[in-house]
Structure formats: structure tokens, C-alpha cells
């Protein structure tokens, strides 16, 4: 039998495959559970033993996006027959729709705050990382450590000072306040990650651009930035995931106008108990933007576009 040092054996490949598939199953099963629950009816969602096979229902999604009240005989008579399919679903549960829920607004808040803070974080992070990577900054190492120290404590440890600060500045429950806060928290991570990526781009490229008639900023923009795209994309994904999923600060600092989806979703209460299908539907939709963002940037996550152009 042939034997190669670099090529793994058949058995090794099988073992690796089983491990990967096993890990994938573990990570994906809660996701499947949430998505499935979103399409269950109320009783099915809390059935024991859990129902793996069930009749799909849009009850959760209808309940997520609407406010309803328990229908009395009078109301049903004055309202007449259900006008739409979602009216019908509400009637089937013995309720009538009284108006849209706040989920849409909360979701929009999450988008504004999540993407806003990610964009700001990339802007400041790239500039700072470039400076740390290329210029002689006094006390560089101490500064980098100091920046990182903001991530060394749990949010709850700084929550009270931040709450007081925000109250005095009038930033409580505002989009701007949350964008600034998430940017501040994420900036340390993005500066560190981006500095690593920029360090890897040889300085010769910028020197060549300077000689070719460009200014330092133009060289940064035309030569460094395109090569750092991979790093910027992956850092942006990390920042977005944090800002998108953040719960503790959102619970403490937002309550109405700027409340994001994470603190809102668990408060969805159905008629006579927690409305699990609606909660699951809210969580399912909540997953979509990060998933789309990650898939769009996936190309950039595959490294390797800059290899081999400089002889070392």
C-alpha cells in the first residue's frame, strides 16, 4: 500500500469527516429547533414528548407581527367574517387583531444600531489600526493594551457608570447612544484584528505608490485598503454579530424608541401564557440579516488574494 507523509490516510479522512459532521449537527440543531418551533401551533410547541413531525402553521408569525385581543361574541358579530388569511388565523385562536405589533420597529432599531455601529467601528478601527501599524506612536504597546482592557470586564461591571453617563448626556434610549456604546465596545477588537491584517501587508506597496506619484492617503486608499478588504470584511462580521446579539446593555439602556430586538423578543406574551411560536418566529427572522451579511462577505473570508506578490 502506498504511503504518503503529507496525504492523510483513508481512516484519518473518515474520522475527520465524522467529527466535522458531528460538530455541524450539534451547532445546527438548536437552529433547526427554533425555525421549526416558529411554524408550530401553540399546543404543538409545548407538547411533551416534543413533536418532531407536526402540521405547519403560520400562527407564530401572525402573532409576532400583530396585537390581538380575546374575541367576545359581540366583537365577532360586529366584525363580520375574517377579511384576510391572517385574520382567519387569529380567529382560529379565538382572538381578533387589534393592530400591528412593535416587532417591526424593534427590528429596524436593531438594523440601524447594528449596522451603524459596525460601519463607524470599521471607519475608526481601520484608521487607528493603520496608524498603529505604520507610524511611530508614542507608548504604542501600552495604548494597545489599554484599548484591549475595555474588554476585560463583563458589561454589567461598567453598566452603572455608563447608565449615569448616558442619563446626564441625554443618550438613554437613543439610537446615537447605542451606536456609540457598541462602537466603543467593539473598537478594541477591531483595532487589534485590523492591525494584524495591516501588519501583513508589506510596506513596500505603499513605498512604491509614494514613488509612483501618490500621497500617503491616496496610497492608503488605493493600495492598502483593497488588500485589507479581507480583514475588514471578517472584522466587520465579528463586530456586527456582537452588536446584533448584544443583550445586557440593550436591556439596561433602552426601553422604547431605541429598543433593539433581543430585549424585545422574550417579552412577547401570548394570550394565556408565553407565546413560544411567536418568540421562535421572532428569533428566526432575527437570524436572517447576520446570515445574509456573512454569506455576502464570505468570498472575502477566504484568504489568499495577496500571497506571492512580494519576494521575501
Amino acid at each position: 500500500m502506498s504511503f504518503s507523509v503529507t496525504e492523510p490516510s483513508k481512516r484519518t479522512k473518515w474520522l475527520a469527516g465524522i467529527l466535522v459532521v458531528g460538530y455541524a449537527l450539534i451547532t445546527i440543531s438548536p437552529l433547526i429547533w427554533i425555525i421549526a418551533t416558529g411554524f408550530k401551533s401553540g399546543p404543538d410547541s409545548i407538547a411533551y414528548p416534543p413533536k418532531m413531525i407536526f402540521e405547519p402553521s403560520l400562527e407564530g408569525y401572525v402573532n409576532l407581527f400583530t396585537e390581538r385581543t380575546r374575541a367576545t361574541q359581540d366583537m365577532l358579530e360586529t366584525a363580520g367574517p375574517p377579511k384576510t388569511w391572517y385574520d382567519q388565523i387569529a380567529r382560529d385562536q379565538g382572538t381578533v387583531i387589534t393592530g400591528p405589533s412593535r416587532y417591526g420597529a424593534r427590528f429596524l432599531n436593531s438594523i440601524i444600531i447594528g449596522f451603524g455601529s459596525t460601519a463607524l467601528c470599521m471607519l475608526l478601527g481601520t484608521a487607528a489600526a493603520y496608524a498603529f501599524s505604520r507610524f511611530r506612536v508614542p507608548l504604542k504597546d501600552d495604548l494597545l493594551f489599554f484599548i484591549l482592557s475595555t474588554r476585560m470586564m463583563p458589561p454589567i461591571a461598567v453598566a452603572i457608570p455608563i447608565f449615569l453617563m448616558f442619563r446626564n448626556l441625554g443618550l438613554n434610549d437613543t439610537h446615537l447612544g447605542m451606536i456609540l456604546l457598541y462602537t466603543a465596545v467593539n473598537l478594541s477588537l477591531s483595532v487589534w484584528l485590523l492591525k494584524g491584517f495591516i501588519d501583513e501587508i508589506p510596506i513596500e506597496y505603499e513605498e512604491a505608490a509614494l514613488i509612483d506619484g501618490y500621497t500617503r492617503f491616496q496610497a492608503f486608499y488605493k493600495v492598502v485598503l483593497p488588500q485589507a478588504a479581507t480583514g475588514i470584511a471578517s472584522t466587520a462580521i465579528f463586530c456586527l454579530i456582537f452588536a446584533w446579539n448584544e443583550y445586557a446593555f440593550a436591556v439596561l439602556l433602552t426601553s422604547g424608541t431605541a429598543q433593539t430586538a433581543p430585549p424585545f423578543i422574550p417579552t412577547i406574551i401570548g394570550v394565556g401564557g408565553k407565546d413560544w411560536p411567536a418568540v421562535a418566529a421572532g428569533a428566526s427572522i432575527f437570524l436572517v440579516p447576520v446570515m445574509v451579511f456573512t454569506i455576502l462577505l464570505r468570498k472575502h473570508l477566504l484568504r489568499g488574494i495577496t500571497f506571492g506578490a512580494v519576494r521575501k
Binding site: P202, E204, Y205, E207, A208, A209, L210, I211, D212, G213, Y214, T215, R216, Q218, V223, P226, Q227, I305, T306, F307, G308, A309, V310, R311, K312
Partner: protein, 331 residues
């Protein structure tokens, strides 16, 4: 094109002195080659002229214009780096266009296309123009890198061992090509190399650098035929100059410490006996490794010689160089 002058230029990196009071004039339209081993200050000289680094003291001017405080872009220089630093996210064509599209030049599109086409032709990379820069072989990358400098018409071209990574055939081709481009355009070129063939064939002037100092500046023939020191004499000549104690041959001046003999300064068939150690047939020439009074001598003889190792041959010096104890040439 312009004349470049360095006056009393010094540069240190921490405790290391890279350049020590260098004064040199690169005449307009000349091809100046800087020779010296690693660490002699060749690359530092280029970087100071280009403006990528700034000298600690002294004055650099290009075309009588003082360069102090000017950025590389303002200095109007083109440079080929030792590492072929092509922009990896661009195609070959975009790499060549890059300097022409700079905010300083802002070349019209049709002229860009013409110049890029011309240079690609000269450097034999026309068929690769639309390839990604990273999809090239090392030799092709270096040609594009040279091309990126040649598409421009700057005050001075700076080249840092541009041919060192190429194979012998291509190196010979490009040597001729570079030389003819330079003389056609009347370009001023400052060129760093280790390779003495490049120095001998292309240079109008050679600057010999030693530990950050210019020890000799002159035409390649001057450096070869009239070196100021053992160090300068060793830079040029293949095989290298033989340096022996002055006393091994008679007739040395009293102050001479050593005698320097190039192959053509050794007359064969007359004088004192020496033992042939080894005969190397290189095709166009044959090298003799001789042992003379326990000193090794390498010289050249007839390509079709019948000498073999163990033979005895008589040799005598003819117009040799004499050097004093510090290695400086005695007049």
C-alpha cells in the same frame, strides 16, 4: 532628466551608520552604478534620493533643486525595488498604468495605452497584460516592476538590483535593453548591483561604496585600471585581483605592503616558477590556480592550453599595483 548631487550626506539607523558624509555627483544622462557588499549603503543612498528616507545631515538636490522636505511624489523619481512589489490586487496592465494615472501626472487615456503597449513590448510581457499580478512567474513580476518605472519619464530612475532575481538569459537581454533605453532617452539612472558584469557593461560611472563612504567614483575603466585601494580593485575583475605580500616578487617600493595582480598583469613563461594546482576550462577562457611560494594565485590562460595540474609554469608581474599597509594604492 536632471543631474543629481549629494553633498555631505549622512544617515544612521540607531547606532548603525549607513552613510557617512557621502558626496557624489550623478551627471545628467549618466548611468551610475553603485557597487559594494551588503551593508555598504547602496540601498540607503537610493532611498534617500527617492525621499522614502530622509538624511540626518547633508544636502541632496535633483536638477539643482534642493530636495529637503519634499515627498517622493514631488521629487519626480521612478524606482524599481529589489522585491518586485507589484500591486497584487491589480492586473499587469493596471500596475503599469498606476504611475501614469497618479494625480501628479494625470496622463490622457490614449497616451497611457500607447506607453503601456510600448513598454510591454520591450519587456516581452504583452501577452500577460490582462493577468492578475499574482499570476506571474518571478521573472515576469520583475519585468513588470521595471516596466512600471520605465513608463514614466522622471528626473531620475533609481534601481535596486532589478535583475538579480532573473535567469541568466533574461538578465543578459534586459541588460542590453536597459542600456539602450537609457541612452535613447538620455535618462539619468542610479543603479545598485552586486553584479560586476552589469556594472562593467551598463555604467558610465561607478561609485564604490565601503561602510557608508564613497571610496572611488569614476568610469568602470578607471576603477578597473586605476583603483585607489585593494577594496576598490576587488570590486571589479573576474577572476578577482590577486593580492600577495609585496616581498614575494622583487622590485617592490619600500613602502609597499602588498602587491595586486590582475590576470593581465601576470606574464606567463618568464620569471619565477610556480606550480599549477588546478586547471578550470570555462569554454571561452581557462583559469589557472597556481601555487607560488605557498601563496595562491588565480589567473587566466589560453582557452586551449595543454597545462595540467602538477605542471610548472614561470610567471612574472607586469605593471602591478602596489598597496600600503592600510590597503591604499601607492602611486
Amino acid at each position: 532628466m536632471a543631474e543629481v548631487t549629494l553633498k555631505g550626506v549622512s544617515k544612521s539607523f540607531g547606532a548603525d551608520t549607513a552613510l557617512d558624509n557621502v558626496t557624489m555627483t550623478i551627471p545628467d544622462g549618466s548611468f551610475v552604478v553603485l557597487l559594494g557588499p551588503t551593508g555598504a549603503g547602496k540601498t540607503t543612498t537610493l532611498r534617500l534620493v527617492s525621499g522614502l528616507d530622509t538624511q540626518d545631515s547633508g544636502c541632496i538636490s535633483i536638477g539643482a533643486r534642493d530636495m529637503m522636505g519634499l515627498t517622493p511624489a514631488q521629487r519626480d523619481v521612478a524606482m524599481v525595488f529589489q522585491q518586485y512589489s507589484l500591486y497584487p490586487h491589480l492586473t499587469v496592465r493596471q500596475n503599469l498604468e498606476f504611475p501614469l494615472k497618479s494625480p501628479i501626472l494625470k496622463t490622457p487615456d490614449d497616451e497611457i495605452a500607447r506607453k503601456v503597449g510600448e513598454i510591454a513590448e520591450v519587456l516581452q510581457i504583452s501577452h500577460k497584460l490582462d493577468n492578475k499580478a499574482t499570476m506571474l512567474s518571478g521573472g515576469e513580476m520583475q519585468r513588470v516592476s521595471i516596466g512600471r518605472a520605465l513608463v514614466r519619464n522622471p528626473s531620475v530612475y533609481l534601481m535596486d538590483e532589478p535583475l538579480s532575481s532573473l535567469d541568466a538569459k533574461l538578465r543578459a537581454d534586459l541588460r542590453i535593453e536597459l542600456k539602450s533605453i537609457q541612452s535613447d532617452r538620455g535618462a539619468t539612472l542610479l543603479y545598485v548591483t552586486h553584479d560586476q558584469i552589469e556594472a562593467m557593461t551598463m555604467a558610465t560611472h561607478v561609485g564604490v561604496l565601503d561602510k557608508g563612504r564613497v571610496v572611488q567614483f569614476g568610469t568602470p575603466r578607471q576603477i578597473y585600471e586605476d583603483p585607489v585601494s585593494i577594496y576598490a580593485a576587488s570590486r571589479l575583475g573576474q577572476p578577482r585581483i590577486n593580492v600577495l605580500p609585496a616581498a614575494v616578487f622583487g622590485g617592490a617600493p619600500t613602502t609597499a605592503q602588498s602587491i595586486g595582480l590582475r590576470p593581465e598583469q601576470i606574464v606567463q613563461g618568464e620569471g619565477e616558477e610556480s606550480l599549477v594546482q588546478r586547471v578550470e576550462h570555462l569554454g571561452d577562457q581557462t583559469r589557472l590556480h597556481l601555487s607560488f611560494k605557498s601563496h595562491d594565485i588565480v589567473t587566466v590562460t589560453d582557452a586551449h592550453t595543454n597545462l595540467k595540474s602538477g605542471d610548472i609554469i614561470r610567471i612574472r608581474p607586469k605593471n602591478p599595483f602596489y598597496f600600503d599597509a592600510t590597503g591604499a594604492r601607492l602611486a
